[in-house]
Symmetry: C2
Subunit: 252 residues, 2 copies
């Protein structure tokens, strides 16, 4: 059994705790959090510590905290020569204290408090400072998920930018659709099958092949009608920019 | 059995033909197309006509052509007092010739040639000029799909704008993710679970509740790193605009 200590209590940490504690091949030895309350009902309280000095021995320490405090947390781990990994899409493993063997354990998914995640389908992007540490990190990841990738720092940073586009920005565009529906007394649920099909389509077509709509058809008449109907200047601006970008991509 | 004549051979028409001809409660009497070749292998050739003067009698005529030619096609139908509907998200039924009873039969989905559609899950937005025609249009729609809505012209136009956002623009953002992956030698497939989860999340959370990422966290450090890494000026501009729009929506 791989012994794991997890540090953190945010969205990523909470979802990881849920998966780690239910896994028969993993021993979640301990979780560090600043306030015990943040992990109430999520794990046996005897496994929680609020003191770095009380951290127990483990095979892997997972630092699942916000980017800004990864470095500081890594300095507080009272051990050396242990495998310590963070879960950030952006930060280099080198920001962590070199007294330990470092790596990255990046789950590429959107985690929210009130939404369960099927961890077996979350892609894990792994990187280790030393080749010989990769195996144990991979065993841990493969116990949690079917989708495990060896991804270097440069690739991971670019994946994170792509993730911001295809998840955070896409979700915000759903929000714009939601607002427009609310304003016009149409149930947002009508759009759900379209949203699902748009996401599914690109499993078999490239997004370029899958593109439909007035922009790609150069349907200036519809585009003008839509711009006229949009009163929110931000939405109007985004409509114009995205339309031009679709038309530009078509020409390349 | 409802007798249907379909006019058109594009993406929407092709998918409708597929569903209509396989439905035991519907008699697809005839399909009009300008060139027989466009419907090769899609329907028994004896059912195809290229002459409006040869159009047969039916209960419903579905005009599934591009917005610009709906009016002209409606003028060519050699009958009067029939139920004639178009499939456009934007056009008023009043653009069609008033010699017939008019309506709208708008399937709210993204249709591409090489991608099958499960028609039972396509929302149909219906509207009829005369109340008494609604029933037969509804029966037709309910034979094709589980999701049938009565939607007036104003609502439909707003739904179409929302659909451009949540489907056409979202797909283009997938394209941006695809391009970034290609450029950085990362398989785009790694992003698929994230794309699916982002689409699924909003079944149980509002898009505002579901929002994650550097913009909503006001993580200026990451945002700056991402902007610096993005070389394409269009992508950089969209990144900035969408980030500001997310931050603005949070404050409302």
């Amino acid at each position: 059994m791989i012994k794991v200590v997890l540090i953190g209590s945010g969205n990523v940490a909470s979802h990881l705790i849920q998966s780690l504690k239910n896994n028969n091949s993993i021993d979640l030895v301990q979780v560090y959090t600043r306030s015990k309350k943040s992990l109430e009902n999520k794990i046996d309280t005897t496994k929680i510590t609020t003191e770095f000095s009380s951290l127990k021995e483990a095979d892997i320490y997972i630092i699942a905290v916000s980017d800004k405090v990864i470095e500081d947390v890594s300095n507080q781990i009272p051990f050396s020569n242990k495998l310590v990994v963070h879960t950030s899409g952006t930060m280099d493993y080198k920001i962590m204290n070199p007294k330990n063997k470092r790596g990255v354990f990046y789950p590429l998914q959107t985690f929210s408090k009130n939404k369960e995640i099927h961890m077996q389908s979350v892609p894990f992007c792994l990187e280790t400072e030393n080749e010989e540490d990769y195996n144990v990190l991979e065993i841990l990841a493969k116990n949690l998920s079917k989708l495990v990738y060896k991804i270097d720092g440069k690739q991971r940073k670019s994946l994170h930018i792509s993730a911001v586009f295809v998840s955070n920005f896409v979700n915000h565009i759903y929000h714009i659709g939601h607002e427009l529906c609310k304003k016009n007394n149409v149930p947002f649920a009508i759009l759900q099958p379209l949203i699902e099909e748009t996401a599914n389509k690109i499993k078999t077509l490239t997004p370029l092949q899958a593109q439909t709509g007035p922009a790609i058809r150069n349907d200036e008449n519809i585009i003008e009608q839509h711009l006229e109907a949009l009163q929110n200047t931000t939405y109007k601006d985004l409509y114009q920019k995205l339309t031009l970008s679709i038309q530009h991509a078509k020409k390349l």
